[in-house]
Symmetry: D2
Subunit: 355 residues, 4 copies
């Protein structure tokens, strides 16, 4: 019945449902003296805000964050930071279409078995709005990491069959096009593909890639708390993620040791690697190269086609979902991936400080 806290030292607890009064997060374990203001956190929340393009739901939420504790005279005090975002768009509507029916691709059925009942007005804690707390907390982790020289950024690198061209990689594009792809041409193609799916009342999967630059070698624990293991948990805990890989990832299956090993060499007095098949992590410990990970996001399960399912009385029924739903999850999840990765990296850095 628990599991809403993430981290060992930099601990984040999120709370709130999509149709309750508010959602939020409490961060316990943030170092003191970090300069933080609401505008900074807000800039991260604005990146996951709905209603910004035709590919995101029209739910009109300002998602304004308030800091209720833990910051004094513009700096973190080292005590818990409480962050709250009110749910202003809880329009009362008719839930009869989903109240007693298990939506395919959603956790509704599991919820009912687990808890005995559920808040049928939305996905409960499985709602995408739960990630607001993650993003707000992630913004603060990012700020601390910035001071430590660590840079975390993510983007959509594939939608359906359309992949970005790494030769045209343009980091500025990530926040410029609605699909958060660092390649304008690919984003346009993907837009056409999504338009077709929208017309078909369907939705698309996608891949998000995340890069972490600046993590020094030596971070991570060698056994259960491997850096990649912690990252895998962090990213897989985002709803809709069905796979996570580091460096060459699943391609290693077809690879040989002579290809996959990254040879070390001295680069102006510093240990460096000629390649980065490892994605910056060897044996669970960072090797000084960029950390590279990818997550597979499934297509939005809420589609507007008629689907067969069952209700909570044990009847076979049909369902036609109404309302506001993105035809693709990944673009708004980019900042969520960044948040989860940033919190993981910071948490492990705090855990690893030497005497």
């Amino acid at each position: 019945m628990s599991g809403s806290t993430f981290g060992r030292i930099f601990k984040v607890t999120t709370w709130g449902e999509s149709h309750g009064a508010a959602v939020g997060a409490v961060i316990d374990g943030c170092p003191s003296g970090v300069e933080i203001d609401e505008a900074y956190i807000q800039s991260f929340l604005d990146r996951r805000k709905p209603g910004q393009s035709k590919y995101t739901t029209k739910r009109n939420e300002p998602d304004k964050v308030k800091v209720l504790s833990g910051v004094f005279e513009g700096k973190t005090t080292g005590t818990p930071i409480s962050l709250v975002v009110e749910n202003t768009s809880q329009i009362s509507k008719d839930y009869s279409d989903i109240k007693d029916v298990y939506r395919p691709g959603h956790a509704d059925f599991g919820y009912d078995v687990k808890y005995g009942f559920r808040d049928y007005r939305g996905g409960g804690r499985s709602s995408g709005r739960e990630t607001i707390g993650r993003v707000a907390a992630g913004a603060i982790a990012m700020k601390v990491l910035e001071g430590l020289g660590v840079d975390v950024y993510a983007y959509v690198n594939q939608i359906g069959d359309i992949k970005i061209d790494y030769n045209s990689f343009d980091r500025d594009e990530i926040q410029s096009n609605p699909l958060c792809m660092p390649d304008k041409v690919a984003a346009e193609k993907a837009g056409v593909y999504l338009d077709e799916l929208i017309a078909q009342k369907d939705s698309s999967g996608a891949m998000v890639e995340c890069i972490v630059n600046g993590v020094p070698a030596g971070l991570g624990e060698p056994v259960f708390d491997k850096l990649d293991a912690r990252l895998a948990m962090a990213v897989m805990s985002i709803g809709a993620v069905k796979g996570i890989e580091i460096g060459d990832g699943f391609d290693v299956v077809k690879s040989k040791g002579s290809e996959n090993n990254d040879e070390f060499y001295m680069d102006e007095g510093v240990v460096a690697k000629k390649t980065n098949h490892s994605g910056g992590i060897l044996g669970g410990i960072s090797d000084g190269a960029d950390i590279i990970l990818r997550a597979a996001f499934k297509p939005t399960p809420s589609i507007f086609q008629k689907q067969s399912t069952v209700d909570n009385k044990g009847n076979d029924v049909e369902i036609e979902i109404k309302g506001r739903h993105d035809p693709i999850i990944a673009p708004r999840a980019v900042v969520v991936v960044e948040a989860m990765v940033a919190m993981t990296i910071l948490d492990m850095m705090l855990l690893d400080i030497k005497l």
Copy 2:
């Protein structure tokens, strides 16, 4: 400096290095009254024992487990179970080839940065022998799960380009052929491929698939402790794993909602699904279908070809690794995957018990 404990309720702590006196595990939180004997645990350890085929190192270790506590008159007492396996094959040898040199594809460099020095006689805690403790503990988790009607099994489903044919799936084959593939023909083809690689002093990657049958719907926590997030961490914590996916995994990137959603239907009074693209988990909670996951294992990094690297004085050097090393990691890791999955499932079942 920590991170050697896994689990919340069924907690396993492993200890020991490949070249120390022994390796072992302590399990805290095992329910009382479970019938356990050393022979049962031994049968799991024997599956990861070296020297059983030409694809596994000839290091001759009996790997005999001793139970030092927590079992009385054949049953677990509910108190910590201490499991120890002596390292009998710690032949003294010349380590000058690796003492001061960072092996490509290994954690040596990260270790030195992290700890200031390392036990250069083997991989330290990154050694495959660390998994002995996991397998012994996993055997006990398996025993408890058996009593709960849960069946966990894994196998190699791909080596290089060679995939098993699911139409020829034969579970008995898993423990019959040295590559742990449930398809005799595929195993033979893969054997030929590995023979070539051995001749080239090279190694191969592979994929392991794991099935969990019998997990009731409703297991898992909806936010950070999603069932798939916990499984991802567990499996990614196995050395050499570079990717983990659930159900359709990375294929969801190209999929559409109308394809990926599993429709529910009533099957003789029980909620069932027509397909299982989700791999048994929706929104982090089990949906009652088989849990399906796959892990990508990189090729053994210890290859016998000459490689460029650096030493711990900052010199560019060449290394030619000697000794005993498997040309493929996955077959001996199959039982490790089973162990990690079993411990995760049991731990979450214990965590989820209702008042």
Copy 3:
């Protein structure tokens, strides 16, 4: 920098400072289906509210609790319960008396060393207002325990030299007199004593006793997580507590085995004890008798006499504290003790559920 979360399964995180926007708590791990409303929680908060007698500060706070998540249609959903109480009485005042000066008996000095700076407007997280979150969460724990037949109640049993007479023990008195003593006569005597101290600008220590009835035998873990060890941590974590004892407590020092051992006997088919020197716990595990514990509360450190101290520039200075401060801490802390004990007992019951 962390440490604001309590519990393993029933996990409570408190946040907020006395002079921030609000204080609150998030409960993760509460079972689903528990009937909860704000009025019920409010009734607990009202017991620690200031301004109710001449022995409590006149700070005029309504301390109204709002439930922001985790409750749907009057029942807990099993997901995090977010509780918030606004600080309405943050009157801006002149803090020059305490801004740079370390108040004797307070954590000011330790805070500055630990965090580098502090919110000088109040005690920060050491403020008594932090316990609002504990009491709100404790109210919910109480509700769950009620359903399990467990009854937790505390009271002041000694102020200065004045002890209650157990022959006149009257539970109804606890919430009837301002000193929360279950003996009207003792409360009146203590009132006279406190009046003297107020006149002398001084304050008094006191003892709080807590009884838990209805805990079945067999609760608690035999080693580090002994039931009494967890209770000791819980109660000692309340500001101003300097000692905690179980059963005969410090009297055991002078006792003999023949006196201290409680003999068992059969009482209508049930194992019972002739005496309860153990205070309901043997070897860290409940023995079925009432759990009895006592906590020693130091006198309020904020007294109005002139005191010598130092400032944060390293000067010897004098301080004369102004403002609103109770002459005794214990009466308002009674409900905090109940809350901490209830959360501990419930958490261990949830941790101990059998397969």
Copy 4:
């Protein structure tokens, strides 16, 4: 069913029963590079070894510790340290006196209810032998603390009515007399008292005091993880402890703020306190003065007088305990208190390291 692990960063897991093959501990999270050898650890174990005077059981155990992992070339590697002590004195004997009978003052009854059965040959995990693992781990914590300038020592300061005279305090006496009192005269008086009790087949309670010198101000977390709260849990987790107090402890009940507050002053440029009523901790955070705590140990419950009790079939019976039992617990527990305090202080120092 768990609870055998102590600590957040410096994590110690103990295992083993008095009549099993061995007892031991695994330390995860010890910093690397600490010089450790078995002789050093042994010197701590020898202080709790039985058979050293007429006040300790004659059970003849060498209690020789072996280090099985985590130490390489005389230094800790930063990976888990496995410590094992064989039980050599498991003489087979007749347990019919205690097999089915609940000994008064012991956890036997609670054990049977909790686990469904128990290892009736000794106290199981409640046996004093469980503390071997704590002492071995504590020795290593002590070594690390030594390097940080922290000195932890404990002693018996009261047995029955006999208290030490602080004017005659002689630290060397602690390890010179069999009762571990730092006052030879008091130890002799207490010896006479114990001789009487032995003649009466009875046992005595006692108090242990522990001093920690050298902890810098600023250690501890302000809310649930107060330094004193963590210490209270640590010390109360030692079997037979029924009370724990810090500084003036229970005397604060009768004290006034003007007496209890410690005034600060500048002592050669350093913040100091004129008195130490706080016992070195204010608001859960160290204030730079010596940490002072006291624990009340109950009389040994195993006395040789005939006692009434019940058996596990629900019959009223009489029991006359046989075998080897100390007439007082505290002297051998002195080193256990030191171990628990040292582990707590070190763990919190590791947890508190700043970026």
